[in-house]
């Protein structure tokens, strides 16, 4: 075995990113690493590449226990990573980038430009690329940059290459080129770890697959004989979640009415949310679901169309206007947009509604503490005191703070954008229960989720988006296939149904 990982653990602050990461790769093998967003794929690979240090677990490199403290150390052992977002120096040439950090082939630290260009040319032609070594990297497409990273890895004499979702920003023909290269590398006896969450890609490339879910390896084995459904089941762990089922309510008065809403590629959206309803918003990545939430929350104001909240025309032009009208957004990227991690739980909860606990700009601290403790209890946020720093809590508890601050603000329309991303199974359950409680208390909820089983469990009906438009509405109970049929571009849909 080239590389073998056993029981790798890693947490950031209070968030457990990996609890039990296992994986092994042989020479000449393409090993797929799959899992949903937040499953811990990138974290595991960054540990291999020396970018993070593991908290616990064993890492063997050619049978020897190792620990890479720095990327340079991993590189010296022969591990290289091709990143999702390029880590090249944009203002240097291709050749300089290929040999960056190792150009000391003259004794006194001079860069021997001509020698480097020649060597780069040799590596490039060996791999069959069409790149001019003296071109500046800033002028390359994302695909071109990945090729340079691959050249760099090969020039360094790497024996293990890690691709972190290389095709997510590439066109179809570029994707084919990447596959060709991966096969070529593997023919030369290199080991390849290929991270992806695109099911379409697997068979054209991989030998074996490892699936991560919620930070732990749930399956390792050959791709042969593994059905698509089994794989999905490993990734989403449907059986664990299937226990939750929500009783729906008779819907009440309309709370959010959207008509003819357009902004950018989000086009002509119309729908109504009623009090007591949870409406799912399904679709593939890039279908425009998050973009729609941004318009409704005033982050990107609408170009045309009408947004009415509780019968009053709002058309928010800023989050502040949306918040004032009673709309709340639980954003997809909790750490960057949802919480001030350095502040306490209490201060996060009262942030949107300081006016309520202050007079002429001066805070009433006792009232503030009372509000914070009240909502901390209601949302069952686990902490020793509301003065605890938000950044120290687990993902699930952090999500509950985000919800608590909107409940405390008295919001009535909730936009949940991927509410269960990066939180553990038990916390997911609690988030669903909280959504149900909100609906029962008369709120209207729009829930975006890429995990179809989740939508089916929680939502009363599901709106499906494709390429910026709503392509249909399904009343629950419905099926994943029905949603996929509306969500996927035609040719993929055919493949999915087979």
């Amino acid at each position: 075995m080239l590389l073998s990982l056993q029981g790798i653990r890693k947490s950031f602050g209070g968030v457990q990113a990996l609890s039990n990461g296992n994986l092994d790769v042989a020479e000449g093998e393409v090993h797929l690493l799959m899992g949903e967003n937040g499953a811990g794929k990138s974290t595991l690979m960054k540990i291999v590449a020396g970018m993070y240090r593991r908290d616990a677990g064993e890492m063997l490199w050619r049978g020897q226990p190792v620990s890479f403290a720095r990327p340079a150390e991993a590189a010296a052992h022969g591990v290289a990573m091709v990143h999702q977002e390029s880590l090249l120096a944009p203002h240097l040439s291709i050749a300089e980038n290929i040999f960056l950090g190792r150009e000391t082939n003259s004794k006194i630290g001079w860069v021997r430009r001509r020698a480097i260009v020649e060597k780069a040319r040799r590596v490039i032609s060996e791999l069959g690329f069409h790149l001019e070594p003296e071109t500046s990297v800033a002028r390359l497409s994302p695909a071109g940059k990945q090729l340079v990273e691959i050249c760099r890895a090969v020039a360094q004499g790497s024996s293990l290459l890690i691709f972190d979702e290389p095709t997510s920003s590439l066109s179809e023909s570029e994707t084919k080129e990447v596959f060709r290269i991966v096969r070529e590398l593997c023919r030369r006896g290199l080991g390849v770890i290929y991270i992806t969450h695109r099911l379409e890609e697997l068979r054209s490339i991989g030998d074996r697959v490892t699936v991560l879910r919620d930070g732990a390896t749930v399956h390792t084995g050959s791709l042969e004989g593994l059905s698509r459904d089994q794989l999905i089941q490993y990734m989403v762990g449907r059986s664990v979640n299937a226990t939750y089922h929500r009783e729906s309510l008779p819907p009440g008065e309309p709370l959010l009415r959207v008509e003819g809403l357009s902004r950018g590629f989000v086009r002509d959206i119309s729908f109504t949310l009623r009090a007591g309803e949870i409406v799912g918003l399904g679709g593939l990545m890039g279908a425009g679901r998050t973009e729609l939430c941004r318009v409704l929350f005033g982050l990107d104001p609408a170009e045309t169309g009408v947004v009415e909240v509780a019968g009053r025309r709002v058309n928010p032009k800023s989050p502040r206007q949306a918040v004032t009208s009673g709309v709340a957004l639980i954003p997809e990227d909790r750490q960057n947009n949802g919480l001030a991690l350095k502040l306490s739980i209490a201060h996060n909860i009262t942030m949107p509604d300081l006016g309520r606990v202050s007079r002429i700009g001066i805070l009433n601290k006792r009232a503030e503490t009372a509000v914070a403790s009240d909502y901390r209890e209601r949302l069952r946020i686990r902490c020793t005191t509301p003065r605890q720093i938000a950044g120290r809590l687990s993902g699930g508890n952090q999500q509950k703070i985000v919800i608590a601050k909107w409940v405390a603000r008295g919001a009535r329309v909730f936009l949940f954008d991927e509410p269960t991303r990066g939180i553990d199974v038990a916390a997911k359950q609690e988030v669903f229960e909280e959504m149900d409680r909100l609906a029962r208390a008369g709120a209207a909820i729009l829930m975006v989720s890429s995990e179809l089983p989740e939508l089916l469990q929680v939502a009363d009906r599901v709106l499906v988006m494709r390429e910026g438009r709503i392509t249909g509405e399904l009343t629950c109970p419905t099926t994943q296939e029905e949603i996929m049929r509306l969500a996927a571009p035609l040719h993929v849909a055919v493949e999915a149904i087979q």
Partner: protein
């Protein structure tokens, strides 16, 4: 539990440093612990300290204000010119403070409306305000100010330097602002995570503008204290004071990444710098070495801060 104990010790480090410095100087020289000397330390540090209070607010909000030294000069100049033109002293002081407020307000407007980073805006106004002071004064200081004006910077009230009373009042007000007002809370929120604050509906532009206006106002007040201490309106006053103010905040535990800082920490930071320079004078240490020492302390303080952050990485 163990972590919180370590953290508590880390919080106390600036205070422990100050206390040790105080004790060491008391032992090292008999001239240190005298009313005259301590009053002189207080007067020397009051100006930087008042500016540093405003800087604390700015740094907590995740910004920086490099222009406060130049603002001090413009404000001091306008204030003393008003006195010379025959205006009553309280009005002249108000004019100086108002000038500072306006300079800070302009900074805030440019930062929030043009969306230029605070570092660049205030680097620009560091030059521009200084240039303005030189243009208006034609490069010449304002002299022959009535003696009564010296009370602000040199007078005593109840046996304590008046500038120390001013500083104390500003410190209490700033502490109250940070801990008990919406503006203070929003400054922490914006500095901790501007995007999250925006998503929560916090009016960011309004509050950031207010933050820079307040910092400018305090720089204006510091300018009047400085003018009173020197009994001139100097267009070249306050050069590199901004760096000392930043140093005081940082030594006192403020983070240039925003969201952290306190009035008490800043006061301690400013007094550490003040005691170091006073102690060096008393002990006859070459003043050039003072600069080296203060530089080393800034780096040590920030290095320590970074070390602390890495251990608490949230990646």
């Amino acid at each position: 539990m163990q972590k919180s104990l370590v953290q508590r010790l880390q919080r106390l480090l600036p205070f422990v440093t100050l206390a040790l410095l105080f004790i060491a100087l008391t032992i090292a020289t008999p001239h240190f612990l005298t009313a005259v000397n301590l009053a002189s330390v207080a007067r020397q540090t009051a100006v930087i300290n008042i500016m540093a209070l405003g800087m604390t607010l700015v740094i907590i909000s995740g910004g920086i204000d490099l222009s406060v030294g130049s603002t001090l000069a413009v404000a001091g100049l306008f204030g003393t010119m008003a006195i010379k033109a025959g205006q009553p002293i309280p009005l002249a002081i108000a004019i100086g403070i108002g000038t500072g407020l306006f300079c800070g307000f302009l900074n805030g407007l440019m930062i929030t409306q043009l969306r230029i980073s605070p570092f660049i805006v205030t680097l620009g106004t560091l030059e521009a305000y200084r240039g303005l002071a030189l243009v208006v004064s034609k490069g010449l200081p304002v002299h022959e100010i009535p003696d009564a004006f010296s009370f602000l910077g040199d007078g005593n009230l109840l046996g304590i330097p008046f500038s120390l009373w001013v500083l104390a009042a500003c410190a209490v007000a700033m502490h109250f602002l940070l801990e008990n007002t919406k503006l203070g809370r929003y400054s922490f929120a914006i500095g901790s995570n501007q995007s999250a604050a925006y998503y929560a509906g916090v009016p960011i532009k309004f509050h950031l503008t207010a933050v820079y206006a307040i910092a400018g106002m305090l720089a204006g007040l510091a300018g009047m204290v400085e003018a009173s201490r020197l009994m001139t309106g100097q267009p070249t006053a306050g050069q590199s004071y901004e760096l000392q103010a930043i140093a005081a905040v940082v030594i006192g535990g403020g983070s240039l990444q925003g969201g952290e800082g306190s009035v008490v920490g800043t006061l301690i930071g400013a007094f550490i710098i003040g005691l170091l320079s006073n102690g060096s004078d008393l002990l006859g240490i070459n003043p050039y070495w003072q600069q080296v020492t203060i530089g080393a302390i800034i780096i040590a303080a920030v290095g320590f801060d970074e070390f602390r952050k890495r251990r608490f990485a949230t990646a």
